[in-house]
Amino acid sequence: MLTAPRAPAVPAFRLMAQRAITDRAKTLIDGAVKQNDLVVFMKGTPDEPMCGFSRAVIQILQMHGVDEITGVDCLQDPEVREGIKEYTDWPTIPQVYVKGEFVGGCDVMVQMHQSGELHELLVKEKILSAEPEPELKK
């Protein structure tokens, strides 16, 4: 009778590989989320977005007066590009994090911009220091 050969470490890793996120990507994403008050996982950079949805998110943030936006260019790193989808359990890029919390993708940002929620959030989380309040609420 033949004894089954001992399973090497590789197949176990392959099983894990069904999950899209690698340890390396998780560390990178975790770091970016925790070290920045606001970070955008996007295609391209804030100065040069490579996708209309990423561009829209950057433009909305700039419109609200967020001057320095930290972006993580997912096109530069396939592991982060796939990993961020699982990390957030959100199927698309861009993704915006504020103070470690996922805020939304492009559509959510547009809706929050239109409703005034985004301004509220940015002030509450002190991303915007003062409050040059454009909308009157009394």
Partner: protein, 109 residues
């Protein structure tokens, strides 16, 4: 070369055959895709308003879902969208992207 072969096979002039192939490939699938997604969301979330549109030009790679449902009340936008994404997990794999616009019905007085 390829269109010509196909045209000959079907007894059509090459250009016509190619045109027919291009025209017939997308629309039926797109219509089914919209309907399939619409039905799935209708059943699961019983929305007050629901519109599903294929915006990829008819190939099922990009959809816009506009949905207004009572069950979204009290949930954050992210949670609302995740409800929809979760129901369409399998469908999403075959798409390039999907835009989801959720809203809550106006409260009745």
């Amino acid at each position: 070369m390829l269109p010509r072969l196909l045209g000959v096979a079907q007894g059509l002039p090459p250009r016509l055959a190619l045109a027919r192939r291009l025209l017939s490939a997308c629309p039926p699938a797109a219509a089914n895709g919209e309907e399939h997604i619409r039905r799935k969301l209708q059943q699961a979330l019983q929305p007050a308003r629901l519109a599903v549109t294929d915006t990829s030009g008819g190939c099922g790679s990009m959809y816009v879902v506009e949905i207004e449902a009572e069950c979204f009340r009290g949930l954050s936008r992210v949670k609302q969208t995740k409800l929809v994404n979760g129901l369409l997990k399998d469908e999403l794999k075959a798409m390039h992207g999907m835009r989801v616009l959720c809203s809550v019905p106006p409260e009745k007085p």
